[in-house]
């Protein structure tokens, strides 16, 4: 193996592989860095592909910004990995060339810096740019305030305020300022915003518009009296909001359990503060989703789970199989279920015993076998058999199994599916030499992953990484 960051960079240069060069680019300096960049930008086609690729490291994207090719710049503007400083330079360039399309991409990029976003808010004349900026969660409260002040009162302002009302960065002050100028849709969005002040919520609970009531019924800052009123509302969406609200008093549950709308009963069935009486009533509901949610709930009593384990609908029985409170006895029963979907639920269960998993390992269904392969309780001897399964999903289950030992995983280094080999590069149970053996893999993504893994070791432990061979 390589002994140092320099040695790794030299190895990467020797491969002549642009993706390997991209993987170690952050480690290189001086001439070596230029040699790597020559590989990355060897052809326009390669440079375009690397500029577009979502895994390209930020340092490579910075180097590509120096190429000054419009098509590459477009890809950099779109790449989620492009750094704030590169976006700042690209913004200057887009401005000087008058390219609003590129400015829009920068306005919506999550890495764009505050100064750039503020400049767009102040200076952009393009409606698309301003709309994109108003949706960007990287725009802070000040940027949004500048933007709001600039467009307030115009038709564009109405659309932008709708976006700001849903932007997590919007301040309480700005939300309040927008509230009175907005239509009911935007007002409802403002009331649902985490930064909406409590006094505005309190002031709005008397409003009768359904949209407002739907939002407020879900809000934990409304009073119990308001929830009581919403529980009697004609609109099922409002009542469903009450059913989902953690502050809803238990006394209201007995009305909601008999609600004519299954939407309301489903929300109620998802709660973890139901009494045994309520759980029992909902477990007999006609709606499958209601029964399914009760079957999945960790608060459902065991005797109810036993009853739901023989429900006519497989999805309900599977929910019991996946319930963390299901006992080995119950799981043993469900492991014999006629539906493979239910048996697969057992196979994925953390409570499934080795005996149950050994039995399920004889199953022919791919979902069941995938669950067995994934389950940390599965005996190692079974995992060793499953690495040879013809179905990729089953082999991937072994790779993702935290209990799979190095000896079990080693044959999978030869797995035909490239994604599996990529996953193995990040597997903590394999040794460095195992991962390094994939460095000449036929797939460029695997080679990139190996060199990137090695480069990260060099970055984290520059003095301690060893030559093992």
């Amino acid at each position: 193996m390589f002994g140092s960051a320099d040695a790794l960079v030299q190895l990467a240069i020797k491969t002549m592989d642009p993706y390997v060069a991209a993987a170690v680019h952050g480690l290189a300096t001086g001439v070596a860095k230029l040699e790597l960049e020559a590989l990355i930008c060897g052809t326009r086609r390669t440079a375009l592909a690397i500029a577009r690729w979502e895994h390209t490291p930020a340092s490579v994207l910075t180097a590509l910004a120096g190429v000054h090719d419009d098509a590459i710049e477009l890809r950099l503007d779109k790449n989620p990995g492009t750094s704030s400083s590169v976006l700042s330079s690209l913004y200057e360039e887009a401005n000087s060339k008058g390219k609003a399309g590129l400015t829009k991409l920068i306005a919506q990029h999550l890495n764009s810096g505050t100064e750039v976003l503020k400049s767009i808010a102040l200076n952009s004349k393009d409606a698309e740019c301003l709309l994109a900026l108003s949706k960007n969660s990287a725009a802070n409260a000040k940027v949004l305030a500048v933007l709001s002040a600039r467009v307030s009162g115009s038709d564009l302002g109405v659309a932008i305020h709708k976006n700001i009302a849903q932007n997590a960065s919007a301040s309480a002050e700005l939300l309040v300022r927008m509230f009175d100028q907005s239509d009911v849709y935007t007002q409802a969005a403002i009331l649902g915003h985490a930064n909406c002040p409590a006094w505005l919520i309190a002031k709005s609970v008397a409003r009768e518009e359904v949209l407002m009531m739907r939002v407020l019924a879900k809000n934990r800052r409304v009073s119990k009296e308001s929830l009581q009123r919403y529980a009697a509302c004609e609109d099922a969406g409002v009542r469903a909001g009450v059913a989902s609200n953690a502050l809803t008093p238990v006394a209201i549950f007995r009305h909601l359990i008999k609600d004519q709308s299954e939407l309301v009963r489903r929300e109620l069935a998802s709660r973890i503060d139901l009494s045994e009486e309520h759980i029992d009533a909902l477990s007999r509901d006609d709606d499958v989703w209601v029964r399914q949610r009760i079957a999945r709930s960790p608060t459902t009593p065991l005797e109810v789970l036993y009853r739901l384990a023989v429900d006519e609908v497989a999805d309900v029985r599977r929910a019991v199989a996946r319930n963390t409170m299901s006992t080995v006895h119950l799981l043993n029963m469900l492991a014999e279920d006629k539906s493979a979907w239910v048996r697969s639920g057992v196979a994925y269960q953390a409570n499934a015993s080795q005996r149950i998993l050994s039995k399920l390992a004889d199953d022919k269904d791919v979902d069941v076998l995938s669950g067995v392969a994934n389950n940390p309780n599965t005996p190692q001897s079974i995992l060793k058999v499953l690495v040879s399964a013809s179905e990729a999903d089953v082999r991937r289950g072994v790779i993702l199994n935290k209990s799979a030992t190095r000896n079990t995983l080693l044959p999978l280094l030869e797995d035909p599916y490239y994604l599996h080999r990529m996953l193995l590069v990040h597997n903590p149970n394999l040794q460095a030499q195992d991962k390094w053996s994939l460095r000449e893999d036929p797939d460029f993504q695997v080679r990139f992953s190996v060199y990137r893994w090695a480069a990260n070791i060099c970055l984290k432990m520059p003095d301690t990484f060893l030559v093992t061979k």
């Binding site: 709309l131 659309a159 849709y185 969005a189 739907r214 030869e414 035909p416 490239y418 893999d441």
Partner: protein
């Protein structure tokens, strides 16, 4: 027993691309090349016959195209094809599917296979005519859009199921040798094993010139084609609109559109 599989290296486009200066195609810098998806299924069908047969079956993949096509042919070799043949001459640039069919036909005559498989269509040009033009030149029976195949080496007939509109299947008995164009989903194409990929890297790809198959530059290319590309362009955007507004407003607008569509 020999099965010949006609394959093509197709181009997929990046999200952002540029048209060539001559306006006839996309700039190559923006294309990503790979084996045609349909051909992956054709090859797998041939491999299934080979692997389930008691007698020896040779699977030969053939493609018409420049050097870069070798990458796709090696992929076929890595998946188990016995031989790969590539026909090319710069004069063939601009050939339409019918001319490509003619070139393939001359290779087929030399190879004398018992069956010919091709994909229903290519993912980039989608003419769906190469396989059928081969059948026409050979004057062999053919079936298009084959979704199931029952055939054993040596049989003089095969039973196929063709995919029709409305989810219907048509079961057809066809005389062999025949040309079949294979539909997606007929099987589950394999991934090439690492060993297969390594072995394929050292296997030769037979490069065949037009002269080797009795053709000349005068038989191929745009001039000999029955159709020629006049221009390629991106049409103006249609009537699709982005629904803006808050989540509630977007939902309300969608309901309004649905109601208008339903005439409510």
């Amino acid at each position: 027993m020999k099965i010949l599989v006609a394959v093509k290296q197709t181009a997929a486009l990046e999200e952002d691309f540029e048209i060539r200066d001559d306006g006839l195609d996309v700039d190559e810098d923006f294309m990503m090349y790979d084996l045609n998806e349909w051909d992956d299924f054709s090859l797998e069908e041939a491999m299934k016959i080979k692997e389930s047969s008691d007698t020896e079956v040779e699977v030969v993949v053939v493609s018409v195209g420049p050097d870069r096509v070798d990458e796709s042919l090696r992929k076929c070799l890595a998946k188990g094809a016995d031989r790969a043949v590539r026909v090319w001459d710069d004069a063939a640039e601009g050939s339409d599917a019918i001319v490509v069919g003619r070139i393939l036909t001359e290779v087929i005559k030399k190879e004398a296979p018992d069956m010919v498989f091709a994909g229903v269509q290519s993912s980039d040009q989608a003419y769906a005519s190469t396989g059928i033009s081969v059948a026409s030149y050979l004057n062999w029976p053919h079936a298009a859009v084959v979704a199931d195949l029952q055939y054993k080496p040596g049989d003089n007939k095969a039973v196929i199921r063709r995919e029709l509109e409305g989810g219907m299947l048509q079961e057809v008995e066809i005389n062999c040798p025949a040309v079949l164009t294979i539909q997606l989903g007929i099987n589950k194409p394999r991934y090439a094993s690492l060993r297969g990929i390594k072995q394929a890297a050292t296997k030769p790809i037979e490069e065949v010139s037009l002269a080797d198959i009795g053709l000349s530059a005068n038989d191929v290319g745009a001039a000999q084609s029955m159709s020629r590309v006049r221009r390629m362009y991106i049409p103006e955007k249609g009537r699709a609109t982005m629904i803006e507004g808050t989540i509630s407003e977007q939902a309300a607008k969608i309901i309004q559109i649905i109601n208008e569509f339903k005439g409510a």
